[in-house]
Symmetry: C2
Subunit: 345 residues, 2 copies
């Protein structure tokens, strides 16, 4: 591997392509300058998914997971395996000297999280999580910039609404299994908790209330299609709803919204659609003492990926602190337990 201007080229191996997020993860790292060399996936992955991945990334060679783990030229493992398998893939990768970027959720139970924490401590490897609704959304990048410029003062509260379209016929069997997918707050809740902690700047948080239910999917009795969580952080407050009930009439997967309220103004993100309004995605609305402004956030960039690439090189944590990845996961899993009535408030 020759040293090139800007440092050696980072080689990526992919283990697990069961969730479509893998495309955003690979593309983000490719855009940042990395190279995807190999991929592996599990027996439950459909032929359509395998073919699509092969077609999308012809430069990558399909191998076994073991071959990827043992390939010393690979520095970073990406995984969008079945939710419940990501922790063990991450652990194996870190023990083989690789950093890791897993799709959210990184873990589906607290035992997995505890084991991941141990291996991070043991190996000093990076365990990062792809919270797509923030790190792959340019409206979030612009929000970061506006908040850093003081345009809404100090952030007081983040309200998130994360509807997702269920499209049951497209879902693999593991999606319906709580033990494999995690519950709705363990899974979709991570996006919301990530954004709450990130935008408020909180490094600690308490769950004030959490709730999960099946309100409109009677044909799947064990499935959770609705979740709520209320949080109090050391730097602000957060409430979120997530659901699998986004109506079919929307041209996007869901009308994801984030309202960031500050002491001197507020920012609303209409991430995927501006209902009956402007075309496209990445809409940001700023209201403060100077007036009301609309921003098309397209072009604001997705700095997460370049930062992660540099972090891997420099052994830093500029893309995401290790504690943040742990805290989001811990809160999401605890909220899930509380919502299921398994833990006291």
């Amino acid at each position: 591997m020759a040293d090139e201007p800007g440092g050696p080229e980072l080689k990526i191996g992919v283990i697990g392509i069961d969730h479509g997020h893998i495309v955003g993860m690979v593309d983000g790292m490719l855009d940042a300058g990395a190279k995807v060399v190999a991929w592996a996936t599990g027996v439950q992955t459909s032929n359509e998914q395998r073919e699509a991945f092969q077609k999308g990334y012809p430069e990558a060679v399909e191998k076994s997971a073991r071959e990827i783990l043992e390939d010393e030229t690979i520095s970073l493992v990406l995984s969008a395996a079945i939710n419940a398998h990501r922790a063990d893939i991450a652990i194996a990768a870190m023990r083989h000297g690789k950093d890791v970027l897993v799709d959210k959720p990184g873990c589906v139970n607290l035992d997995q999280l505890s084991r991941v924490r141990e291996v991070v401590t043991e190996t000093n490897k990076i365990w990062s999580i792809y919270f797509a609704e923030r790190v792959n959304a340019e409206s979030s990048t612009l929000a970061d910039q506006l908040i850093a410029q003081g345009r809404i003062g100090d952030v007081v509260q983040v309200i998130g609404q994360g509807p997702h379209s269920l499209s049951p016929s497209t879902r693999p069997s593991w999606f319906w299994d709580l033990n494999l997918a995690g519950g709705i707050l363990a899974d979709l809740g991570t996006h919301q908790i990530d954004q709450f902690l990130h935008f408020t700047g909180s490094r600690e948080a308490t769950i004030l209330s959490a709730f999960v239910d099946n309100v409109a999917t009677p044909e799947r009795p064990g499935f959770q299609d609705f979740g709520e969580v209320l949080l109090e952080g050391d730097e602000g407050r957060g409430f979120a709803r997530v659901d699998w009930l986004s109506p079919k009439g929307l041209p996007v997967l869901g009308d994801g919204r984030i309202m960031i309220m500050g002491t001197e103004g507020s920012i609303e993100l209409r991430k995927f659609i501006d209902l009956a309004g402007r075309d496209g995605a990445d809409h940001l609305f700023l209201a403060n003492d100077k007036g009301v402004n609309y921003f098309d956030a397209g072009g604001a960039g997705k700095p997460f990926f370049v930062r992660l690439l540099k972090d891997i090189e420099n052994r830093t944590y500029t893309a995401m602190s290790q504690e943040h990845a742990f805290l989001v996961t811990d809160l999401a899993l605890r909220a899930q337990s509380i919502g299921e009535g398994e833990e006291n408030w």
Copy 2:
């Protein structure tokens, strides 16, 4: 008083014009066909307020509160007195045989509410509350119609955001006194709790969490500029934020929003402004399996007032059930206590 087609003309007396809501209250009843004959107000009312009222309603004669109470031709007393005075005005009016419409909040403490309840039982008079953000908002009327048509299925959750502009120089001294104004959840919270109960159709509810704080008004240490409440009703769930931090750059008092999520779609109300979007107020966005639709709700009407007028004549409760007025007030006052840490959750 001659019988006219459609029944005798309802005569209104106004006692207390300290809050600007009195204009919406009087206008609503005038539009419904009532007549305002007399008004009285307290010593703290400013000359500007008195002159504006006199100019707005020259047909009404300024009298003492006692004269209005003792005028047997007056059937309905309206009051937007100082918040803490409304309960006693309502009690006096009911004991003088009159029905009552008070501005929100109807009470600032549970003792007042308990006394109002007793007098309602004793007199069988109507104690109704003007929840302006619903009964005076045509977008809410249209939401009622769309929900009744089944356009979003069963309502699951209502998320409300009620920012208000503080404009401190325009506020009378009593506004800053918690004992006279009530706290932020006791006051602004009533709008949100009213809408949560109304749109979910809940007749019972539990407060899961409540919070009040002063986050950005250090010059008024005892003042609460931020409040949150999370509720679970027998027919749905609700979360709301209220605040006095709406930025000066908005051309309206606040970007009040209601998101009503149903099992088959959702309705968003942008009541007072469509940020950087369409002109005017009363914007409604419907998303369901049929698609996304924008509605200008202007013209949907404010049926509350005609219903109240008929209720007074027919001794019915079509405008608002008596229990709803009690329940909103009870929940708002309890949320306030919980938020202040005076009551356990």
